[in-house]
């Protein structure tokens, strides 16, 4: 068990096993990212602005390629406000023009007004490039773990540490 660490090759192999688990998870995430062409292909709903369709804590799956048709009115899209890292999940309610330079206006289903106030200063509309994906599927409630991890950041190293300990001490 732990005494096996005296042998450097065995220690390296144990370390490698742990590293491979973490890196496989990471590479699977990156692979999904590349396939969907979205920097963040799975997002968690953080607010109640899209109720009753999506609740806080729902996990959303995004697709960012316009293979069959352009992003159109009625689609639920996720975008980041310029220079902010918080993804906002709202519906496209107006579209002016066509192609990549078309202007898009979004609004949360559960909000009274559209997103004009949420956009950056001087920005009145979104363009296609601002959108990081359209919602193509979702799993309810599963994402609450992420919300907990972000609201209590000490959970992250604790969870990772526990996983690491389990892998190193088991050799099955």
């Amino acid at each position: 068990m732990l005494s096996g660490l005296a042998n450097p090759r065995q220690a390296a192999a144990q370390l490698m096993n742990f590293g491979l688990i973490v890196s496989t998870a990471f590479m699977m995430w990156k692979g999904l990212s590349v396939i969907t062409d979205s920097p963040s292909p799975i997002v968690v709903v953080l607010s109640g602005s899209m109720e009753p369709a999506f609740q806080r804590g729902d996990l959303l799956f995004l697709w960012n390629r316009n293979i069959l048709s352009e992003t159109s009115v009625g689609e639920i899209v996720v975008y980041n406000v310029k220079d902010k890292d918080i993804p906002i999940v709202h519906r496209v309610v107006r579209k002016f023009g066509i192609g990549p330079k078309a202007k898009l206006l979004t609004k949360g289903d559960n909000n009274l007004s559209d997103d004009t106030e949420l956009y950056a200063r001087g920005q009145d509309y979104l363009v296609r490039k601002d959108i990081i994906g359209s919602v193509v599927g979702f799993i309810p409630f599963v994402g609450y773990v992420t919300i907990m991890l972000s609201e209590h950041p000490w959970l992250k190293p604790v969870m990772l540490g526990m996983m690491g300990l389990v892998v190193v001490l088991q050799r099955e």
Binding site: G4, R9, M16, S23, F26, K30, G31, R171
Partner: protein
């Protein structure tokens, strides 16, 4: 000599792993030259994959997704290839090998082990290639773990080494004092008196009393039975 560490005798993985760890220790102490070829290739494949994942993390963190997405795609593809190669290597080439080495006599050994689920039996397969390159025999040793683990879970080295030395000629040549010949009997020592197996058997049967007569009566009834069968 029993080791200080105790393992659970009900955990088959622990039994097998402890025994697997003991084989290289024993053979290397007999001046076998271990070849780390298999482990080294596995480590190279694994750490290269890790390096690629690390690089991908680095450029994604520094430059963002959009500008590096083609590199990321290439990295993901390369990582999958390396990971797949590693899995194939472990499954097809290593195939449970826990020791590869050369005996002092020049023979090359390749030892692989496995144990079936819920069966506390240690299966050892030894492939021997002679010094001149001629392929020797493949030796299979099947022994229950109870032969070298005591009830508390300590690993006892001596009987384990005897199993290997008796079963594998190359090891037996290097460690002749551990080779058990067919006429070797295990001697038990109690309170200063040594009891041989014959003495123990006599003590056991005298304690049973009627057991002695029964064992004497059996051959007679057996003969009767034979006569009956013939008739």
């Amino acid at each position: 000599m029993a080791s200080q560490e105790k393992i659970s005798v009900y955990n088959l993985a622990d039994l097998k792993n402890t025994s697997d760890d003991a084989i290289p220790n024993y053979l290397n102490s007999l001046k076998f030259q271990q070849s780390h070829r298999l482990t080294d290739v596995r480590l190279t494949l694994g750490f290269s994959a890790l390096a690629i994942a690390g690089a991908c993390l680095a450029w994604d963190y520094k430059f963002g997704f959009d500008s590096t997405k083609y590199y990321t795609a290439a990295a993901v593809a390369l990582y999958s290839l390396l990971n797949g190669a590693l899995t194939l290597w472990i499954f097809y080439v290593e195939r449970g090998t826990i020791y590869e080495g050369t005996a002092p006599s020049g023979d090359k050994l390749r030892i692989s082990t496995h144990s079936k689920k819920n069966e506390p039996v240690y299966n050892v397969t030894v492939e021997v290639v002679g010094k001149d390159g001629k392929k020797g025999e493949t030796i299979e040793i099947k022994r229950p773990f109870t032969e070298w683990f005591d009830a508390a879970g300590h690993f006892v080295a001596a009987p384990f080494q005897s199993v290997l030395a008796t079963g594998i000629p190359a090891v037996g040549r290097a460690d002749p004092k551990r080779v058990m010949r067919a006429d070797d009997k295990v001697k038990v020592e109690v309170g200063g008196t040594e009891y041989t197996p014959e003495m123990l058997a006599m003590l056991a049967s005298s304690m049973q009393g009627a057991g002695v007569e029964a064992s004497g009566a059996e051959p007679k009834s057996g003969k009767k039975g034979e006569r009956r069968r013939k008739a």
